[in-house]
């Protein structure tokens, strides 16, 4: 058995040429120097298989991706996402300074309400996708693990001298996701259940300052919790003491976010992709669309008006065989009209699903397309995303 083709979350590294090492054939190339997560031994004690990802050794799975995926959809899963970068940006005029690099309205941003935003290049390409939360005078920003050093360098170069970036290296980040997440977290952080979707607040837990927001990357209700690294294992133990919670690896994180239609930076988004192509126009604030003044505004505002040349779409693939990142999208005449940027087997739907970019004229729901992977053709159809409905806890909606 040989010739492994890998994708999934481990290919955030694959985009950067680092081999995935969970395979029988073994990786090739020099072993990269990897950092350890604060919970490294916690994961190993629980039987995690560790793989290189975003410069860290990270748990890709414990008991198995499908079981972990389904458990999260039905109960609650605990994810260690401490590889992600947590930044505190502060200083005089920080809100308007951030508006030069991102298309959000940070001047009017409400306290403790996380917003999805995009770090943009001058040509309108996406440098990273991130979550930005005003916390008083400061902005707490969570960026992707593989891109955090580049993001910090880019922001430092572009922000004025009186705005400072603190990289909160000492903080771990845990995500508790799933329909039972709120029940569990409420017993540990009383008041957590009163948060609505995309709302955060500080907590004190056993003398440690925590920050939790009702947000995540699975399409389920859930929380993301920033905790000092020294307290991370105690908090993980407290959460997994509940029989409703299991630790979940990166493998299921990837299949969950794919079903939820959420793009992964380095795959579905990169610096050649604009927010409009990526279907992320909602992240361009209304005032900013009128005023502009953010990196790439010229191109992005023109694309909003005229439409992009290609669009990110969801695809349902016929048959049972997964079609993965890198496969080509063909029209009825065999012309190349796009590419797959994420694809795999959906554990919830028990069928292959994929995400990719196609020419805008072929992006309508229901459009029949062919996919080509390793010389084999697959029938596929453009389908609305999410593939599996989101179940966020929106205030005012029934619980």
């Amino acid at each position: 058995m040989s010739r492994e083709v890998h994708n999934g979350p481990t290919d955030e590294t694959h985009a950067r040429g680092t081999p995935y090492s969970g395979d029988p054939a073994g990786g090739t190339g020099a072993p990269p120097s990897l950092d350890k997560l604060p919970l490294d031994s916690w994961h190993r004690d629980r039987g995690a298989r560790m793989v290189p990802f975003a410069g860290y050794e990270m748990p890709v799975q414990y008991e198995g991706i499908i079981a972990e995926h389904l458990w999260t959809r039905e109960n609650a899963g605990l994810f260690d996402v401490s590889h992600m970068g947590q930044l505190l940006v502060h200083g005089r005029g920080v809100d308007s300074a951030l508006e030069k690099l991102m298309p959000g309205d940070f001047q009017a941003a409400l306290d403790m309400k996380p917003k999805y935003s995009l770090l943009l290049g001058e040509d309108g390409g996406i440098v990273d996708d991130l979550m930005v939360t005003r916390r008083g005078e400061d902005f707490y920003i969570v960026v992707n693990g593989a891109t955090k050093q580049g993001d910090i360098a880019y922001m430092e170069r572009r922000l004025p001298g009186e705005v400072f970036i603190d990289y909160m290296k000492e903080q771990a980040l845990l995500a508790l996701q799933g329909p039972r997440a709120a029940d569990v977290l409420e017993t540990i952080l009383p008041g957590a259940n009163e948060l609505g979707f995309m709302q955060g607040r500080p907590f004190n837990w056993r003398g440690h300052n925590l920050w939790a927001s009702r947000s995540g990357y699975t399409g389920e209700d859930g929380f993301e919790i920033s905790v000092p690294a020294v307290a991370a294992a105690d908090l993980a133990n407290a959460i997994t003491a509940s029989a409703l919670v299991k630790p979940i690896g990166l493998g299921a994180r990837d299949s969950l976010r794919l079903e939820a239609g959420l793009p992964l930076y380095g795959h579905d988004l990169d610096d050649k992709t604009t927010p409009v192509m990526a279907g992320l126009t909602f992240a361009i604030n209304k005032r900013r669309r009128i005023d502009g003044g953010f990196a790439g505004a010229l191109r992005i505002l023109a694309e909003i008006e005229k439409g992009p040349i290609e669009r990110r779409v969801g695809l349902e693939v016929e048959g049972r065989q997964p079609v993965r990142e890198g496969a080509l999208v063909l029209d009825g005449e065999g012309n190349e009209v796009g590419r797959i940027t994420s694809g795999g087997f959906s554990p919830s739907l028990q069928r292959p699903i994929a995400m990719g970019y196609v020419a805008a004229s072929l992006a309508e729901n229901g459009t029949a397309l062919k996919l080509e992977q390793r010389g084999k053709l697959f029938d596929a159809r453009v389908t609305p995303m999410p593939f599996v409905p989101h179940r966020y806890h929106r205030k005012g909606a029934s619980a």
Partner: protein
């Protein structure tokens, strides 16, 4: 009956001039949850080292190579119908295909079970 393994983590069980071929327990464990399998049609001629079957997990796609040359006599329709059989019984019911050996001499280069398990330990 004798059992051999390859460094590509295939097993070959020999019964007379028929070889049954699958992937090892180590291989299925490394692949994780298997969601797709494709096996060759009877009558197909395979030469040693040729791509013979496909196995895909949630995480990875792999080809299963013919460890020896011969003519396919049967593909296992049970594993194409239920690919998780490769996880639950990789060295038994989860076999991929059977072929009629061209040249039993090709078995000489393969590892016996004890040698394979020892080699695994050294990985």
């Amino acid at each position: 009956m004798s059992l051999y393994f390859t460094k590509e983590h295939e097993w070959i069980r020999i019964d007379g001039d028929t070889a049954t071929i699958g992937i090892s327990d180590h291989a299925q464990e490394q692949l994780g949850d298997i969601v797709f399998a494709e096996v060759p049609e009877p009558g197909k001629r395979l030469s040693k080292g040729q791509e013979a079957a496909v196995v895909e997990s949630v995480k990875a796609a792999s080809d299963v190579y013919a460890p020896v040359s011969g003519e396919v006599v049967e593909g296992n329709s049970k594993v194409t119908g239920d690919p998780s059989l490769v996880n639950s019984d990789p060295e038994g019911e989860g076999w991929f295909f059977k072929l009629k050996l061209d040249n039993p001499g090709e078995l000489d280069g393969l590892m016996e079970e004890a040698a394979y398990r020892e080699w695994l330990g050294s990985l």
